[in-house]
Symmetry: C2
Subunit: 562 residues, 2 copies
């Protein structure tokens, strides 16, 4: 006997689902997940200290998820802040686990779209209640500073998961469960048929998680697949297992309580160097893959995992075009924040700042290329001048590769802003660095090799261009050849604005104009902003649109004469 | 100055679009395209004689579509009824044509979803007015008998095109054009943004047409791509150019009158043996491909045309499970018609009839395996006993390969019904054949090689199976390994019914139960029935669902501080 009946779950969550459905239709602001720490600690949610205590309690333990086919226990995460997590996770014998994940599929399919949606919402609700625990888990795997780990890894990730559930639900119910079909035949009796339509899952979905945003980038695919009736195997990044392992734990718990097979969601942790993503991705049982990470492996998946629908978010080269502004200070402050947040370790962080070599017009008068770059460097210095604030914004460098790229960047050109080392008194082993800005010449082939490659981390290039139209053409080429998750532009010239917009429409890049306030080019809000477009090389999918969910299930029709 | 304004087209077609949107939501019967010949000849549409005259007038002519980059004129269609069409078509220099097809894309994109939809509806309306001309063009390329060429190639194809437009429209307007986003910030001023959302096309879509249903299988992809803002290059099957060439002609005419670039739709006819589909399919400009045809080339496209979204309808092995019936005569009549229609040259025609070797229960008492097969053979003989009726049902064998397969089939096992040659007094050169039924044993490996391969044409296998559950397992294996466009089942046993339904839900096959009246397993109605599921090897797409349209465009967001 299930402890949670569909009826009860529908009563509990249908209003939230309806609000989400309305939000994706209007794309106005909405979120049911509070982003202020003070909102937590009531109504069953953990407070900040309780979340910390829960996180501390899991350190050094074996996280037994009760999965079948567990043949070993694996772990080894070390926080970018220097803490060894010491958590071990089930290592799966896939020959046992994958068949077990199929056992519950019929009941999950037959439950229907609405019940699946509210079960997903119950999972998200329980994750929300443990937000403060997840915040620490995300912080100590991604290296994000606490506030960001809390917001992006908690409420914002939950929003993206809920958004995917809403899209999945509406896509499944656009075809009715049944239809009576009556076709007139002139004077003869009409032809009449009874038709039943059932959304059926593809099979098992594989989520391949990333290091930097394990929950934010993981939840859309995971919940879209689960809500459309698929089982989901979660393969976390080896350095960011805990947030997704806790997610799997919650999902299994809710599924069981609701009377479904908990093996509909399972974890696939791996031994160091095991590289199980490739093995799993080409298994015939795996029919859907969601992946966030390097272009090389994303391309490999798209080429080799031909039995599956593959949704990838890979790397791009993000551009901000700086042509003119009527709010110079606001522009500098906004850009300084965008470049500093999480040490530029976001797939949405701008890399190339295209600035005319003859300078720009501003509300404070003309500024030369050198002045703009110097003023931006000064703005970043100011923003990060206080170490406490710097630590709270930058977080930690996520891995040695990023650090190496940062150090190498200084050799690529004239350094306009040198990266500084910041000490973190609470976590002395954390590697904390401020961004570097390197001046490059858009017309020099040697420089082009640098600015036309993704340099993930706190590295920006101030690229001198001949003119606004030169910048627009470089923008077009960059998006077309390298892809882009984001494009920003500062201009007061309607012609430049039109030209940039047209490039972004033609090359399918998401564009932010003249951001000078509290919204940053590297941030997107669920239910309103699309993350990626799916139309340029940076990603083949957008979070979240109809295309992200429509191919995760098929509709089977059963018809008979009425 | 456009002769047809968006305003005028919206006034003319919005009511039809609204009805189509309602029909795909309820999936009740609906069609705006009459399927009785008498309905034609009024309100600007060609009557049957006028259609024949129009078809005759085009024979032996050069069909000049006014396309850029025409470097030659090619043709050579010979009707399966023996008539040489003698029509020549523009052969394109793709280095000129493809760039020209891009010139109009911005205006087409900026026109928006509603204007694109009503332009598509105007194209369909003009095709509908010429239905009787298209009927002859389809008949003399596919070999369908006239009534079928008229219905399937005319109103039913137009229905499928309209259905695709409706899906494309609703998919694009689910995101609003603009949104005002206001995020509360406690005591501070809220964050406010203005956001614009624009559906943008992928690029140029390639439609690779088929021989047997050039319009019916071609219109969904063509109209889905055009309605979502893409240009469409139509590459017809070399033996079925005329129906799609006339379609392109109408589309170019309407686009021009509505003030758009006619090169948004173009024809790519080819020289004999040129094989331009492969060349076109891997061009970087081609971002969408729709294909109906052999599994081999469908698989090639899915593997090699990696730069494009590829929608394929390939081959499968369709099964009808015969376990028991309460209407034996109705079952036999229904099956006899399904096997005879268009000489079994439909991707939906049943191939394997699974019959328990111990016989079946019927309302007329038990029938042995041999009796069922003999009774079915007799039903087909009765249906096709009169040559006039036989010609009207069978049409002509579309090509020598089908004839060769039919002739070889008799050697595969005991022939329960021999194929007969029928003479066609009107077209003495037509190759007209009745279906063959061959008895096979489901348990014999040699027989399995035959029934587990697609044998396209008027060939059915009466496969003796050990039991109903044996049949269900063979059905499962057939769908999983070979794919199926359709599955039929006759049973009065609820347990067998459940087992068959479960197999079809698990393997994603479209299922018809106990058809004994005027609906046949090989026919699907637009707006109500899905054609294919996209979830088994026979096709990676269904006509038509959200997945068929959602990836043909992307949504680009442009946001700025409000």
């Amino acid at each position: 006997m299930a402890e949670l009946t569909p009826h009860e779950l529908i009563a509990r969550h249908r209003p939230t689902l309806d609000q989400a459905l309305e939000a994706i239709r209007t794309r106005a602001y909405w979120s049911p997940h509070p982003e202020h720490p003070k909102a937590y600690g009531e109504n069953g949610s953990l407070s900040l200290p309780e979340g910390k205590a829960a996180f501390d309690a899991v350190l050094g333990t074996r996280l037994d998820l009760g999965q079948p086919g567990t043949d070993d226990w694996v772990g080894g995460e070390v926080s970018p802040y220097g803490v060894e997590l010491g958590v071990t996770y089930p290592h799966a014998d896939v020959e046992t686990l994958l068949p077990a994940m199929k056992a519950g599929r019929r009941a999950w399919r037959d439950a229907g779209a609405e019940t699946r949606a509210v079960v997903c919402l119950e999972i998200l609700k329980r994750i929300s209640d443990r937000t403060m625990e997840f915040a620490h888990a995300v912080m100590h795997t991604s290296g994000q500073a606490f506030m960001m780990a809390f917001q992006a890894g908690g409420p914002h990730a939950q929003d993206r998961g809920l958004e995917a559930v809403a899209y999945a639900y509406v896509e499944q119910v656009r075809t009715p469960d049944t239809a009576e079909w009556v076709k007139p035949q002139g004077k003869r009796d009409p032809l009449t048929m009874t038709k039943q339509f059932t959304p059926v899952p593809r099979g098992i979905a594989l989520l391949i998680g990333c290091n930097t945003f394990p929950t934010w980038n993981g939840y859309p695919g995971m919940f879209a697949s689960l809500a459309t009736g698929n089982a989901v195997l979660v393969k976390p990044h080896p350095r960011a297992v805990l947030p997704l392992a806790l997610t799997v734990q919650v999902a299994r718990e809710v599924l069981a309580e609701a009377g479904f097979d908990p093996n509909l969601v399972a974890l696939a942790a791996e031994r160091p160097g095991e590289g199980i993503a490739k093995t799993l991705a080409t298994r015939p049982e795996i029919r859907i893959i969601d992946y966030t990470g390097s272009t090389a492996f994303g391309d490999w998946l798209e080429t080799n995992a031909r039995q599956a629908q593959v949704y990838t978010e890979k790397a791009g080269v993000n551009t901000v075009l700086v042509e003119s502004t009527d709010n110079y200070k606001g522009m500098l402050a906004n850009l300084a924040f965008s470049l500093s947040l999480y040490s530029g370790q976001m797939c949405t962080t701008p890399q190339n700042l295209l600035i005319p070599r003859d300078g720009i017009r501003t509300d404070e008068g003309p500024r030369s290329y050198d002045e703009v770059v110097a003023d931006l460097a000064r703005a970043i210095d100011g923003l990060l001048g206080d170490d406490t604030r710097a630590n709270a914004l930058l977080g930690a460098i996520v891995n040695p590769d990023v650090k190496a790229r940062l150090e190498a960047a200084a050799g690529l050109g004239e350094v306009a802003l040198a990266s500084r080392e910041i000490s973190n008194p609470e976590f002395p082993r954390a590697v904390v660095r401020t961004p570097v800005i390197v001046k490059l010449d858009g017309a020099k082939p040697d420089d082009e090799a640098a600015y036309m490659s993704e340099c993930f981390g706190p590295v920006s290039f101030a690229v001198a261009v001949d003119s606004a139209s030169d910048a627009v053409e470089l923008l077009r080429r960059t998006v077309r050849e390298k892809g882009a998750m984001t494009v920003g532009a500062y201009t007061t010239d309607p012609e430049v604005e039109d030209a940039v917009r047209e490039v972004c429409l033609e090359e399918a890049a998401q564009l932010s104009f003249n951001l000078t306030g509290g919204v940053y080019v590297n941030q997107t809000a669920a239910f309103s902003d699309f993350h990626g477009s799916g139309g340029n090389p940076a990603a083949n999918a957008a979070l979240t649109d109809g295309a992200f969910v429509a191919s995760r299930f098929r509709v089977v029709e059963v018809r008979e004469d009425a």
